[in-house]
Symmetry: C2
Subunit: 423 residues, 2 copies
């Protein structure tokens, strides 16, 4: 139903459940928030950013170029550097600089790619659960998110084929335009996809593509560098031999600074022009100044040391949260959680009868106990694999270890009260 | 016609004629460009930006906040300051800070407002000619630009009423959602709308609004502060007593730095939520860091002195261009030009038989003579008042006075060659 006098898109953009949660958090600063997916403010790189700016300003002519308009796809020296961020195994052909586009965080890249691929009513297959903000992006476009079952290794390839078969049976296959994945420490489950699953998904996408209907795979690699144990896995770009299927979305928001808002995409050649055309019409290019800063940060070798520092800081917080989970949730029957190797989230599953969302009692009881979390149901696509209402996403990014421990104890008290029916 | 496998929007985004022109300029750096609407690189504020950043970094806790995520509508202290930029006459009620939204330049604000108001096929009434990038924004949305005749005072209110009557007669009135104006030194004509025309346009918008179909007026005030003579005119916000009709789009791109990409909108209350919802889904908020920088620039009193400096610099260049026009174009029969009081553009009208666009010969002859301009036809809406093919937009923003003089002489030679049939 369109809002009176406004566009259909305005109606489609309504009702992000997460905004209510954020408003609650803002209005109740005494609550410990295990909900926000923000990064730890204390870790933000004032020193490296300042050093990069000083270097830039030292050459006024370069500083003036940074303060001038740039070109829509972004500052070429930074785009060159971002190809290195892909960390391709030696010997593999690299994308050209033309295939790299700088955007306002990876969110804008996801938006631009979806604008370029999807018409209203079109479908994107997503892990169930998946990144909740992306579900909002799809909703705003009038598009449909369709959930595919997952396990502790992310999206299940057999479930992906089943979903495609079901959609084909319903005459909707031509509506399916992309598969969206967060294959590194995903938001919200914290799970990663092993190499064989990545290969399987790309193979399925290619097999189900038709001449006029290409099925793209969007790899959201936002958390790739936030690995605290185990070995890196190559980007899905490497398993797309024709380089016509996989889009990689990257960002410095989690690994450096969300306030600089520098994200990017690495695109199959045929998507470069559509994405740049959209971007040119929407914002005429991302801030040149911020791109010069990030290029300088990379050139001066300031980036990876900061990532190392973040890994230590977040790894310690993850340990705090997992230890608190063992201690506080361990004794609670039927409560399970994922032990991620990276990222910013711990995913908790409660006994089936406990609803974590607004139609259950836990959310209010948890607030009484002093803690906020993200109800897992918000992370589930609207169709396909049904939402699991007994789940929650906890984030260890923002709170201190002390607050993580207090928050987890409060949450355990709340769960126990609901279990005991004493809420 | 949709591009194979891509969205309708991808098809709608195709074919910005200006990109070919920009590619020509890049490939031929020896040409003098009177085409680019960029700002003068030598004037860009390295010093003030650096001072603002130093002040920010001096308090690491604030610097960290600048490097963190912000809220979608933007940094509140900056938004407070932008209400002052409206320069409301004393005694008038000011908009609340909630009505101010920070965007990636004013282009993104225009995009978000159009996304919130327009469905594909909907119509925006524009001056003929108008800001060509906005025509691209509308095209990308699958929307229609409809031209209203102008004179040396901008859009003619009587022509606006005629256009509305014509559209009503054709059963298309319900498609008309907004009137877009650049009432200060507009791009491309350099003309400004006097107060009585501004009042007339807002009155017409209100009179033609229906209960479910509100006609908004979008005031693009990008060049307001770049006035070199005469007195400022109040924003159209002041003539919208109910504050339900006028949207103001502002930007620091022309008055400070396009590389920081800080623009904004001042919105009627009912548009705040739709615009913020769209923005939240597209890019999750503009870079916080850049907003902190601009707030600091304003707080330290660094902004208006820079504007004063720009006024002097551009005023001198405008004089160069007008003197060169008198000298070079004066002797050419049937060549006329506007003498603007501000902005970055001089609009030239040639004898009717001389086409400035790709179907005429002038463009190639001018390139042979060593100069680039923007063919005026690119600035005309696709419907309504027909394009005037014998016009051109010249910009004095980027070139030096010396190059302005050389460019104008080259252009005069080219015009003369075409007039003499000797091209």
């Amino acid at each position: 139903m369109p809002v009176q006098g406004l566009s259909r898109r305005a109606a489609w953009a309504e009702g992000q459940p997460i905004s209510d949660l954020m408003a609650t958090a803002l209005a109740n600063p005494q609550l410990i928030s295990l909900a926000a997916g923000f990064v730890d403010q204390q870790t933000l790189p004032v020193g490296p950013t300042h050093a990069a700016i000083e270097a830039l300003v030292a050459t006024p002519e370069r500083a003036r170029r940074a303060l001038q308009y740039g070109i829509t796809p972004g500052y070429a020296p930074l785009r060159e550097r971002l190809i290195e961020q892909l960390e391709l195994p030696p010997g593999l052909p690299a994308p050209s600089v033309e295939q790299v586009v700088i955007t306002a965080g990876s969110n804008q890249l996801l938006h631009l790619v979806c604008e370029s691929l999807l018409d209203p009513g079109d479908i994107v297959l997503c892990a169930a659960p998946t990144y909740l903000v992306f579900l909002g992006t799809l909703g705003n476009l009038g598009c449909r998110s369709y959930g595919v079952a997952t396990d502790r290794q992310g999206m299940i390839p057999e479930a992906l084929v089943e979903a495609l078969e079901r959609l084909e049976h319903d005459g909707e296959l031509s509506r399916v335009k992309a598969i969206y994945l967060v294959p590194y420490f995903d938001n919200p489950q914290g799970v990663s996809m092993p190499q064989h699953r990545r290969e399987a998904v790309v193979e399925i996408a290619k097999r189900w593509s038709r001449r006029n209907h290409h099925l793209h795979v969007i790899e959201d690699a936002a958390y790739r560098l936030l690995r605290y144990e185990g070995d890196d896995i190559p980007s899905m770009w490497t398993v797309d031999e024709e380089h016509d299927t996989v889009v990689v979305a990257g960002t410095f928001s989690k690994t450096f600074s969300p306030g600089l808002r520098v994200g990017w995409g690495i695109l199959p050649e045929h998507l470069v022009r559509p994405v740049c055309n959209q971007k040119g019409n929407i914002d005429f290019g991302s801030p040149n100044f911020n791109q010069f800063i990030m290029a300088e940060v990379l050139d001066q070798g300031l980036f990876m040391p900061h990532v190392e520092y973040l890994r230590k800081a977040y790894s310690r917080k993850l340990e705090c949260m997992l230890a608190a989970a063992d201690r506080e949730f361990g004794p609670l029957p039927g409560v399970e959680w994922v032990r991620p190797q990276g990222g910013l989230y711990v995913w908790v599953t409660l006994p089936e009868e406990i609803e974590t969302g607004p139609s259950g009692t836990l959310q209010d009881v948890a607030m009484e106990e002093g803690v906020l979390y993200v109800p897992g149901q918000y992370c589930f696509p609207l169709e396909g694999e049904p939402a699991h209402a007994n789940t929650m996403r906890l984030s260890f990014g923002v709170p201190t270890c002390e607050n993580i421990e207090k928050g987890m104890a409060a949450l355990a008290r709340a769960i126990r009260r609901v279990m005991d029916g004493g809420a």
